[in-house]
Symmetry: C2
Subunit: 155 residues, 2 copies
DNA sequence: ATTTTAGTTCTCAAAATTATGAACTAACGA
DNA sequence: TCGTTAGTTCATAATTTTGAGAACTAAAAT
């Protein structure tokens, strides 16, 4: 059971709400919040449920979801059956790439609208095309930006 | 009532699902889908509810949400009380900017986690800081990219 | 003045999501 | 072997979201 200050609790809720807006269930958002806010980098299953007052099943489902999305990791220690869960802070590369993939998937749908429309409305096709091209531009340039940033850091 | 082919109907559903994943209610996603797929650039309230088989209230709420988010617009004609709703295809600038704002808001929350942590875990603070800096970098560079793209287009 | 139209708002029901608590499992420990 | 621990899974309850249908409003049309 982790002892938290009022500020820490409030910040966990804010981080939770942000993640809810990104599509996560409330309990999942709070777990992420706790792992971000905690002084200790890794907390056990038990500590998480005791600290957040959530059920084992909610925690189990949330942790597995977060593991699957590579937003958290767990470590273990010899002679200790527990897993210790912590935020996976280095993996936002993947997040950015995924976001770009989703944008690219949408731009493919937009392409299909133009194809289906044929030349029934050339003006609309033109506007849609512009948007498609921007989305493709973004999907190309943002990963390039990522590389640029990594390179600048390395020096 | 708009007559749609099987392909058009399927594409509307796909665009609908994409928008559901972005947090919109199903009916709202379908309206966006219809307005993207339609040959005609603007459809009346009545045409929308007849074509999609949704209730007036669902349509009313969805259209107002989409208007408020600047994802659609409506036009009117003299001597015609109806509003004709159409996709607002030029406004993705705003979407990009909003997305960056939201990312920046999150990076502020991350900053707070570091502040609250003090020097209880310098290693974690360092990793969080790296992420903050990347998010800030992104929030600066993506709008710049947008400008670059606009400039290239204008020529 | 009354009716029609275009849409809004309200109430409520259906559906989907999320979380609980209990039962369960598999490994470990005594 | 029997109990304990660390979590998972299941049935179900609580909550939230979404949408339908009816009642309503305000402007326009007759």
């Amino acid at each position: 059971m982790v002892q938290l200050t009022k500020e820490q609790k409030q910040l966990i809720e804010k981080i939770g709400i942000y993640h809810e807006q990104q599509g996560f269930p409330p309990a999942t958002g709070r777990i992420i919040g706790l792992l971000y806010v905690s002084d200790r980098p890794h907390l056990s299953f038990e500590e998480i449920i005791d600290t957040l007052n959530i059920s084992k099943s909610a925690a189990s489902n949330a942790l597995n979801l977060l593991l699957q999305m590579h937003l958290i990791e767990y470590i273990t220690f010899p002679g200790d059956r527990k897993r210790y869960f912590g935020a996976l802070l280095e993996n936002w590369h993947e997040e950015v790439i995924n976001k770009m993939d989703s944008i690219l998937a949408f731009s493919k749908l937009l392409k299909q609208t133009n194809e289906l429309r044929g030349n029934a409305n050339p003006d609309m096709n033109q506007k849609v095309l512009e948007r498609i091209e921007f989305l493709e531009f973004l999907s190309k340039e943002v990963p390039a930006l990522l590389q640029k940033w990594i390179k600048e850091r390395q020096q």
